[in-house]
């Protein structure tokens, strides 16, 4: 699979239809465009104005010709419509056995939730399996757009929107919000991770199979490991690492490392101690205590994260302090 001049990597069952139709229209358009422009340039040169030479007379209209160039485009566009129509009907008819994932869009983050209860900030899907998204919005209009899959659907508050696709190859692909949703619209991007379904591939570091990932995401707290390891895993599942680093460097948000137990200044000028309570509140109600120097508000995780997960994350903070 390669990307082409006009398209990113095609990675869904829809891509051949969309790309094929695109190139068909491109061919027809190019033909007409070159014909029209060729004639225009030819006329510009052939019939350029020469002083003293009056134009030859030619008929002011020719009904047969005019009807011809009216009817031929009609036939062409009927064909284009037909192809676009069938492709669209496929896109809007999910198979009954599609794997369902619930999507909640809010400013400016995507939330994916699986039947096991596993939450995720990135969309993880199995390869070669029809996947159906049941989408809702908490505030304004959003639009889920995966260029590699050639799909897009607005997420409208007050109703469910549906979208389905079937990925062809494992890998990681961009997922955008395509409907303007306010300040950080352009940051409302995440990844679609297409997992293989090969049970042999369970290596967590190298795109594990979907079942492994799902089990992990559903229950990230493992009994046989220190709690901070689970906390680290949770920060990865919830994509905290998109904005927060674990090495002390500043990204969109402050780093996990080197903060726990310190005194920090808030944007309202108050000083606080970064302790268990502060971390907990920052996860559940992030806008209440924003640290000085960080403008971008974090989305709230209230209702999306279990208490024991927060404990694990706090353990991770403490662990980083020790390192």
């Amino acid at each position: 699979m390669q990307d082409s001049f006009f398209f990113p990597v095609p990675n869904s069952t829809f891509a051949p239809t969309v790309d094929g139709l695109f190139y068909l229209i491109l061919g027809i358009s190019a033909f007409f465009f070159i014909a029209i422009m060729g004639l225009m340039v030819f006329f510009m040169i052939k019939y350029r104005r020469i002083d003293g030479v009056e134009p030859e007379s030619s008929p002011g209209h020719n009904t047969a010709l005019e009807l011809t160039w009216s009817i031929i485009p009609v036939l062409i566009v009927i064909g284009i419509f037909g192809w676009g129509f069938t492709g669209y009907v496929d896109m809007r008819s999910p198979p009954d056995d599609a794997y369902e994932i619930n999507v909640t869009a809010s400013t400016w983050a995507w939330d994916f939730r699986y039947s096991t209860g596993a939450p995720s900030k990135e969309l993880h899907i199995p390869v070669n399996t029809p996947v159906k998204l049941i989408m809702q919005s908490q505030d304004v209009l959003h639009s889920l757009f995966v260029p590699a899959f050639r799909v897009k659907q607005d997420v409208v508050p007050g109703r469910y929107s549906g979208l389905w696709f079937q990925a062809k190859e494992p890998g990681s692909f961009d997922l955008f919000c395509a409907e303007y949703c306010g300040k950080q619209h352009s940051d409302m991007i995440t990844k679609v991770i297409v997992h293989n379904t090969d049970p042999a591939n369970t290596n967590l570091n190298d795109n594990p199979n979907f079942e492994t990932w799902l089990a992990d995401a559903s229950d990230p707290i493992k009994d046989n490991e220190p709690l901070y390891e689970s906390g680290k895993r949770i920060t990865e599942i919830l994509a905290c690492t998109q904005c927060h680093t674990a090495d002390g460097s500043k990204k969109v948000g402050p780093s996990f490392k080197g903060t726990f137990g310190t005194q920090q200044k808030l944007s309202n000028g108050k000083m606080i101690t970064v302790d268990e309570n502060y971390i907990r509140q920052s996860i559940l109600d992030p806008t209440s205590q924003i640290r000085d120097g960080f403008k971008t508000p974090m989305p709230s995780f209230k209702g999306r994260i279990k208490d024991e997960w927060i404990d694990a994350v706090i353990a991770y903070f403490k662990h980083l302090k020790k390192e």
């Binding site: 007050g158 109703r159 469910y160 929107s161």
Partner: protein, 128 residues
């Protein structure tokens, strides 16, 4: 209607008889529509096929349309109006129909999705 045309040819004068009879008809229709509101108008043979509300909508809007037509035709002199102005007015109603038609078709189609979402919300709030 003897004074239908004055010397300038562009004034169409409505006779008092016409004005008063149109007015009378409008009054009668208004009283009729208020009287009929809320009455059970479903004919016995159609009982169970159409609801009372549907019949009520049809009856009320038919009376309103008749009243509206009377106003347009006589009070607004459309009966004597230039064909162009009549055409324009009728034409605009066509665009209103277009607007309403498409909007209704669409919202009718996706309404079930909104309803099901609202039901879920209600269930969620009922079981906290």
């Amino acid at each position: 209607m003897s004074d239908n045309h004055d010397e300038h040819g562009f004034a169409h004068v409505m006779s008092p008889q016409i004005l008063l009879s149109v007015f009378g008809a409008l009054i009668v229709l208004t009283i009729l529509t208020v009287f009929l509101a809320g009455k059970d108008l479903v004919p016995r043979e159609l009982d169970g096929h159409v609801s009372q509300k549907q019949v009520e909508i049809v009856v009320s809007l038919t009376i309103a349309t008749i009243k509206g037509s009377l106003v347009v035709l006589f009070f607004m002199h459309m009966i004597n109006e230039k064909p162009l102005n009549i055409l324009l007015f009728v034409f605009s109603l066509f665009f209103v129909a277009l607007f309403l038609g498409f909007a209704l078709t669409d919202t009718g189609q996706y309404d079930s999705r909104i309803q099901s979402y609202e039901l879920d919300i209600i269930e969620q709030s009922a079981t906290p």
